[in-house]
Symmetry: C2
Subunit: 352 residues, 2 copies
């Protein structure tokens, strides 16, 4: 026969105290004598009690679950990021629910306001299709941290300095003597996304080096995945482009590009140097290995999680009894995380 799981009342009875006292012990309330604390702990261990999260959730309004919303989990960058986020959340006693938006605005919106609001304590969102307007109207939504370029003033976000990173990457290519640099995934809109920021960095580097900028160097892509990178390169070559370098706005595009270049008999890096972004594992084992901009993914994840944790606690503090010492609600945070250039064969060639 299956023994029913013990409840707080069973522990209370077993320890000879009230239910509330057990609750106090569980929640590390200060004013509990060592004697009773020990007794309760013992009862808990003895019965194998563990709190029922449904009850706690209903009572406290917090579930201990946060949502991570990414476009696609099978894009390695997001998978690696998710891994770090889950790890970091664990440290903060949070559990992570992973959602995929498919880069779809509807899904992202739903994530932002909808499904979560009574189930999830907070949201970490890596937006692809959202606009600033969407963000502005998120009333009643749980605390949210955005990953990637800042879309809207009032929101917390965590990212590397994409413009600067792209500039450094481009400067590296220029330093190699390359002048005709195509940008796979580049976008010259005034927009606020990551692609736009990286494109700005590219232009800044060109301009600083006195190289003319040609909008035709930006090759748009439907998605940031390998097939798109391969297609873009194939199309460009067929259209007569003769680049001596590619700045690919993520590693998936770059890996697809490497493949397409190989198929066209173009040597990397001799004929064309290739840079990516993200430093995914695949780029460390490709042929040739891929030079890339490596964001500190662990730092992105921990920053986002800690920031979110802070917001959650903040939102849950008693409605401020005018206590002057109480920390004022934190102003919107822009956390910039470190990145570095990782130079490998696709720009520097094999070591001898």
């Amino acid at each position: 026969m299956v023994v029913a799981r013990p409840r707080i009342k069973d522990v209370a009875r077993h320890a000879g105290v009230s239910e509330k006292t057990v609750s106090n012990v569980i929640n590390d309330y200060v004013h509990v004598s060592d004697r009773t604390r020990r007794a309760v702990r013992e009862a808990i261990d003895h019965l194998g009690y563990r709190v029922n999260l449904a009850g706690r959730h209903l009572r406290t309004g917090r579930s201990g679950v946060i949502a991570l919303v990414v476009p696609e989990l099978d894009v390695p960058y997001f998978a690696e990021l998710a891994r770090h986020v889950i790890r970091a959340a664990e440290q903060c006693s949070l559990t992570v629910l992973v959602h995929q938006s498919g880069g779809d605005r509807g899904h992202e919106l739903a994530a932002l306001s909808g499904f979560g609001s009574d189930f999830v304590d907070g949201i970490i969102l890596s937006p692809l299709a959202l606009t600033s307007d969407d963000l502005r109207e998120r009333a009643g939504a749980p605390p949210t941290v955005l990953l990637g370029e800042l879309l809207e003033e009032g929101a917390d976000h965590v990212a590397i300095d994409n413009e600067q990173a792209a500039r450094e990457a481009t400067e590296h290519l220029i330093a190699l003597g390359r002048r005709n640099i195509l940008v796979i995934g580049g976008r010259d809109a005034p927009g606020l996304g990551t692609a736009e920021a990286r494109t700005r960095g590219y232009r800044a580097a060109l301009s600083a080096a006195g190289i003319a900028y040609d909008a035709a160097a930006l090759l748009p892509v439907a998605a940031f995945r390998m097939p798109d990178g391969a297609d873009a390169v194939t199309r460009a070559l067929r259209d007569g482009a003769r680049p001596d370098a590619l700045l690919c706005l993520n590693d998936q595009l770059a890996l697809g590009a490497l493949r397409a270049l190989y198929e066209h008999g173009v040597r990397v890096p001799e004929d064309v140097a290739v840079m990516g972004f993200d430093d995914v594992e695949g780029g460390r084992y490709s042929v040739p290995t891929l030079s890339t901009v490596a964001p500190d993914k662990a730092a992105v994840a921990t920053s986002a999680v800690h920031l979110l944790r802070h917001r959650i606690d903040e939102a849950n503090r008693p409605p401020d009894g005018g206590d002057v010492t109480a920390a004022a609600p934190l102003s919107p945070q822009d956390r910039v995380v470190a990145h570095r250039l990782v130079l490998r064969e696709s720009t520097e060639g094999a070591r001898h």
Copy 2:
């Protein structure tokens, strides 16, 4: 000012009915007159009501959340699988919590019995380190579906026919005239894991072709990732092995192996043919592209989710009033999902 979210009682008041009636409408209870049903629907829309999952969870004991437990999310196979599982779960109105076990038995055990039991309605577990004993003792755990080789009789599980798949892959290599086939990640234990099953298939193919089996052909790895594949190959070559084919027990090992072979100036497939397992996207763009065993991942995911959904509903049905028509509890299911060989450059060479 923020308006508090409406509760069921607000809807009830607004529609002029009892709370229970609202609940009945929400849950599509049959005996509600069309008139009241409409009125309640209208009130719901008008107030923008949405059920509070905490309350429902506490009352019903079900959260609508299932856990997916994989060793590491940044192994592309698991990321791709997770994507499919999340999709499939969505179809069944289930939400997915992703856990990473790190291939650690402790974590897997915790997943199996611990954290979930009052929070998660069911578990999909891709075990790496669990033993049959661990599985047998999962009392009081929520319904569980295992992915991968069957570890224990009483458990539901979903997998491809790993032994057969490995046999086909090996036969393909043999048909190419290869005789000296190393198995990266091979394991000859009597064990029950996926690696063991694939190794059996390899041996069966050798034996059928009259090729002698040498246990030294099995190259153990610490993990099933690119570095391990590269290391294994490097070590083997240094030790004087001169294989003409590699059967890598997953694509990550294979991609690592490709890189190592390249570094040693070994041509693929001319000198050494390489096969992997899983058909991850990386293998479609590697140089050379990777021949592999492609499991129907979407089918694995949907089978697992549907099976789990079934178990959850089953576990929640009223304790059977002797109704003869009630479906008997399903016996443990072994679902075998289709796979196929995908032949690419790493065994067949480039097309001309």
